[in-house]
């Protein structure tokens, strides 16, 4: 029997494809699927691409680091899980040649290195890309090291107890593993030579690393093991958790794309609901006839569901193909910012697309379709016996439920989905009432148009037609309002997103960092740099300190188990002191240092460090062992990771001293700002007694590049880091994500037009009847055309107004809660939407009903019977 239903369904579907409502339904579904799959495909590939890139930066998909060599057993477990392992040893040691000594950050790599990417190395004839490390007996050096030790390619340098030949100059390493821990210049050697150096000794500062590369499943499989390792104090870097910050900009773009995709799905859903209504009306006769021939209710539902499902499946496939093409275009737009080739599109988004199509169909068409089940066989004899349309509450309820489910699926957050849903439902209720008021108000105004001009007559008649079908008119008003709202939202958010991005990285964003400025060099350096750069951050003092206890316990015991291997506990932290909240930082909990805490000497960090002894907190430090702890301000992300809050105590070891501190404020800061940022800030007067250096960031204009040479010569100890490349990359991301956003925007607008098309198509028969009547009473084509135009324009105007209200309220909410921007009033919206709505709906509606106006009145009145 099911086979029969299928045949019946498909047979009529083939011919039904010509019907306007089926076409509208089809287009809407194609758009919904295209939008959702395009965005899902794109985000999926981007995500996986970024993961791979992160893997490259980390040096592997999983990086383990500890002070002792790793056990064979652990190695085996990792290899069994499917990882390829690479060993690495990092240590800091002096290297020397001809009596010149220089500390270097030594990184010993094996034959497997690097897992991903390649290093840029100069072997004497220009930079080459090479995907391996130095051979045994050889070493590659950082250009700074070459300069500081005055060596050339082919020279031999002393490393511990052995000599290695410098065969290459490393411009860029394939990965960033091993870190810049001491800002010492890099020397890369082979692990085979480590033993000969004799540097691996009890008590020496050595980190052993395992860099592991493997598929996501392997990573999944060892999660338990990783948790164990973290508890044992091993630093674990997992590519999915510890990948470098995506950057707020890209995250916002992801939010935006997700939002736009959902907007397109919602719009398509509205279109589906409207065309289904017409579809069902058109098929009531068929249903009645089938009933007459003995079809059961269930069979009717099956036949028509199958028909729509078949339609949805075809639409899903076409939509998914369009989505596939769309994402390829997106990727093409973004290609220059994506340094790596993205992995090929996965199957998941395709499944998601088909699922979306079916969900939209069930949610937005289901209740309406069920009407067909209630058709009476008697309708074959008495045409007027139509089953009642389903209640608006049922239709909206089911649609909201399904849309909520999609929200959940896409956002991955149930509370967000529920909140949006409840908010949406409440909004819809309010919207319905406001629309009703607005419509009657508008119609009353229109009826006052006295004048006998053609247009005021048209407006009066059009208004009256609209008033006559109040319920249908309200439904359309609602649909159009939601459409305009979604379109406006996507345009508005885009504009604000772009301007925010531009504000975030102004032209004078720092492009150089200067590190390791000694106190004695501070003023000369400042004097050399300040006059020639456009912007310069404060010179922040920097003291290295290690966390040795938290709330009186060893750090490992005081923090959550997962944080035991946290970088901040294993390494020395860069501590600074400031009397003011640094630029770009915001206190999110607690209070910034009070004048009392600042010891009444807020300028102490400006003054001569030696002179500040005995002032401010110095006296407190003297008394640290028994007196109140030093107040500090901690970055909120670090505090969250370590499970710390206001009032918690942290003890740092700085030099040979211990300082007990208490957290008095938490700060949020913008890691994308290209400014020096600090996890922990002390008040002035505490750290000055310890050895410290300064760090600053500045923007060096194109024309002043010579300054760098001078600085290297005059301040050989200062490290200069050029971040132009990174900065350029971030700018590229913003620029190209902008283009991607625009493409998606176009898609949403298209979905909006599909709603208009569907809605107007659905209302054509009623309008045909009316224009037929007008014709019978002697109205000419022009007159009818004007009346219809006026009716559509009125509808469009009201919808535009409602859309503006909705959009203004929602953008404000979105900015505050989701995109983290400051809300503002959009004046253009209030002008453009109503007028644009009137024109758009007027024109589309007018064009669509042109066919009707040409019909003889008898045809449009249905006097010709069943054709």
């Amino acid at each position: 029997m099911s086979d029969v239903n299928w045949r019946l369904a498909m047979r009529s579907l083939r011919r039904d494809l010509r019907a306007a409502d089926v076409r509208a339904l089809f287009i809407a579904l194609v758009l919904a699927v295209a939008a959702s799959t395009m965005i899902a495909f794109f985000l999926d590939r981007l995500e996986r691409g970024l993961e791979r890139q992160a893997g490259q930066m980390l040096g592997g998909d999983l990086v383990l680091e500890q002070r002792d060599p790793f056990s064979e057993e652990l190695r085996e477990r990792l290899e069994n899980a499917g990882f390829v392992l690479s060993d690495q040893v990092d240590l800091v040691s002096m290297i020397s040649r001809d009596g010149r000594f220089q500390p270097a950050s030594i990184k010993a790599v094996d034959e497997v290195y690097p897992h991903y990417g390649a290093s840029s190395v100069d072997f004497g004839n220009g930079t080459e890309q090479i995907a391996s490390g130095p051979a045994p007996g050889e070493a590659w050096a950082d250009p700074r090291l070459i300069e500081l030790v005055e060596i050339e390619l082919g020279d031999r340098v002393q490393v511990g107890q052995t000599e290695l030949e410098i065969t290459g100059i490393i411009e860029r390493e394939a990965d960033q593993s091993g870190g810049f821990s001491n800002f010492n210049p890099r020397l890369m050697i082979n692990t085979a030579d480590v033993e000969a150096t004799g540097l691996v000794q009890e008590g020496s500062r050595i980190e052993f690393e395992i860099l592991a590369a493997g598929p996501p499943e392997a990573l999944e499989q060892v999660q338990g093991l990783l948790a164990e390792l973290r508890r044992d104090g091993v630093e674990v870097r997992d590519v999915r958790v510890d990948r470098p910050q995506l950057g707020n900009a890209l995250q916002r773009a992801e939010s935006y794309l997700g939002l736009a995709g959902l907007a397109a799905v919602l719009l398509a859903g509205v279109a589906v609901a409207m065309s289904t209504r017409r579809y069902v009306e058109r098929h009531l006769d068929t249903a009645a006839l089938l009933r007459c021939f003995g079809a059961s209710q269930r069979q009717l539902v099956t036949i028509f569901s199958l028909q729509l499902m078949g339609l949805a499946l075809v639409a899903a496939v076409i939509g998914a193909l369009l989505g596939l093409i769309g994402q390829a275009v997106l990727i093409w737009l973004l290609v220059s910012f994506l340094p790596m080739t993205l992995p090929p599109p996965g199957l998941m988004p395709l499944g998601l697309g088909v699922f979306t199509a079916l969900a939209v169909l069930v949610g937005f068409a289901g209740p309406t379709l069920l009407r067909i089940k209630r058709v009476s066989a008697l309708k074959v004899l008495r045409r007027e016996l139509d089953p009642l349309p389903p209640s608006a509450w049922l239709v909206v309820g089911v649609a909201s439920l399904v849309f909520g489910g999609l929200l959940w699926l896409y956002s991955g957050s149930l509370p967000l989905a529920i909140a949006l849903l409840i908010g949406g439902a409440a909004l819809l209720g309010v919207l319905w009432m406001i629309s009703a008021l607005l419509l009657s108000g508008l119609l009353r105004v229109v009826q006052r148009f006295s004048g006998s001009s053609e247009w005021s007559q048209a407006l009066r008649l059009g208004g009256r037609q609209l008033a006559r079908r109040r319920q249908a008119g309200l439904g359309q008003l609602l649909a159009f309002s939601v459409t305009f709202f979604a379109m406006a939202m996507i345009v508005l958010v885009r504009g604000d997103l772009l301007s925010t991005w531009q504000d975030q990285l102004p032209d004078n964003t720092p492009n150089y960092f200067a590190i390791n400025i000694q106190p004695s060099e501070r003023d000369p350096f400042d004097a050399a740099v300040s006059p020639r750069v456009e912007t310069q951050s404060t010179l922040y003092p920097m003291v290295r300190g290690r966390v040795i206890s938290i709330n009186g316990q060893p750090p490992g015991d005081a923090v959550p188990p997962d944080a035991r291997g946290d970088n901040s506990l294993r390494r020395e932290l860069n501590l600074t002191w400031q009397s003011e909240v640094p630029e770009g930082n915001a206190v999110v909990a607690g209070e910034w240092f009070s004048p009392a805490q600042l010891g009444g000497d807020a300028n102490s960090e400006e003054g001569n460090e030696e002179g500040s002894e005995g002032q401010g907190w110095m006296s407190a430090v003297e008394a640290t062992r028994q007196a109140a702890p030093v107040p500090i301000s901690v970055e909120d992300g670090l505090a969250e990771r370590l499970g710390l809050g206001i009032g918690d105590e942290m003890t740092f070891s700085v030099g040979s001293d211990e300082i007990t501190t208490q957290i008095t404020s938490l700060r949020s800061l913008n890691w994308d700002s290209f400014q020096p940022n600090f996890f922990v800030i002390f008040p002035p007067g505490v750290l000055e007694q310890f050895g410290h250096s300064y760090i600053t960031a500045f923007h060096l204009p194109e024309t002043e590049q010579g300054l760098i040479r001078e600085l290297i010569t005059d301040f050989p100890g200062v490290s200069l880091l050029n971040v132009d490349a990174i900065l350029g990359q971030v700018r590229d991301v913003l620029g190209q994500v902008t283009r991607a956003v625009e493409l998606v925007l176009a898609l949403v607008l298209l979905a909006g037009v599909s709603v208009l098309y569907a809605a107007l198509t659905a209302s054509l028969p009623v309008r045909a009847h009316e224009s037929g009547l007008l014709r019978v009473f002697g109205a000419g084509s022009k007159m009818i055309s004007r009346v219809q135009g006026a009716e559509y324009a009125l509808l469009g105007f009201a919808s535009g107004l409602m859309g503006a209200v909705l959009a203004e309220l929602t953008t404000a909410a979105l900015y505050i809660f989701l995109l983290d921007l400051t809300p503002r009033l959009h004046v253009g919206l209030w002008v453009f939407l109503p007028i644009g709505g009137a024109v758009l709906i007027g024109v589309i509606g007018h064009a669509l009903s042109r066919g009707l106006r040409r019909q003889a009145p008898a045809a449009s009145l249905g006097l010709l019977g069943e054709a």
Partner: protein, 262 residues
């Protein structure tokens, strides 16, 4: 046979031998038996009785014409008899099943394959070809998939060449031929015809009627024909007139009566 209806007036020219000598179909198993059917509708505050205590019994193979003025409730009665509608009161038994004991779906299942329909406005599905339209009732019966049967029926109504045409590509008469083929394709026990010539010109109408009666005779089907056309009615075994909600036996005159026109 109904207690109220007088003996059926058999047409002398009707040559249905099988039934001619058993005028009282009720003795045999009736195909359809209506017992004191009433139908009331409420329109606004007024309650209107369309049918009142109406009884009727139709024997297998019999052809019955129901005549009546426009608005007399012919369509309502047809709907009730076919089980498309439920009576306000009374009981209808179709093929030995009391319809009041069946739900909507049960009544539909009872019709499937056993009842054929010919409508005034043809009721062909505009999106299906002639052949597909004829196959429709077959597919809802246990005989799904018998394309050949459907094609043969189209052949029999003279449309063998036009199987793949859509209804709108066919003339009114041709459309009604398709409908007739559709009514008989399942070898039904009972065929309802509702003003089958109402939308056709007299010549075409006459052809359709000839076709209908020929097929009916050949298949030995029970036929219930609702019409206002006395000439048409006279070709049935029995004529009944619906008046003031009741059925009465009636001998149609040769010429159409005044009230018969639409």
């Amino acid at each position: 046979m109904s207690s109220e209806s007088p003996r059926s007036e058999r047409q002398p020219d009707n040559d249905n031998q099988a039934l001619s000598d058993i005028p009282q179909g009720a003795v045999r198993h009736p195909v359809l038996h209506a017992d004191k059917l009433s139908k009331k509708v409420t329109s606004g505050e007024r309650s209107l009785t369309i049918l009142h205590d109406l009884s009727l019994s139709v024997a297998a193979g019999e052809s019955v014409a129901i005549l009546g003025k426009s608005g007399a409730g012919k369509s309502t009665l047809l709907g009730l008899l076919a089980g498309l509608d439920t009576p306000s009161d009374g009981e209808l038994t179709l093929f030995g099943h009391a319809l009041s004991r069946l739900d909507e779906d049960g009544r539909a299942a009872l019709r499937a394959g056993r009842v054929g329909f010919v409508f005034q406005n043809f009721q062909l599905l505009p999106t299906l070809s002639a052949l597909e339209n004829v196959m429709l009732p077959l597919e809802l019966s246990p005989r799904a998939g018998e394309t050949q049967t459907a094609a043969q029926w189209l052949e029999r109504v003279g449309l063998g060449e036009r199987v793949n045409h859509l209804p709108k590509q066919l003339s009114g008469g041709e459309q009604q031929r398709v409908a007739v083929a559709r009514a008989f394709v399942t070898d039904p026990e009972l065929v309802f015809a509702d003003e089958p010539t109402g939308n056709l010109d007299p010549d075409t109408g006459a052809q359709i009627i000839d076709l209908l009666f020929t097929l009916n005779r050949e298949a030995g089907t029970t036929l219930i024909l609702v019409t206002h056309d006395h000439a048409l009615a006279r070709r049935c075994d029995r004529c009944l007139r619906l008046d003031h909600g009741k059925l009465e036996a009636f001998v149609p005159t040769a010429a159409p009566i005044d009230e018969g026109t639409q």
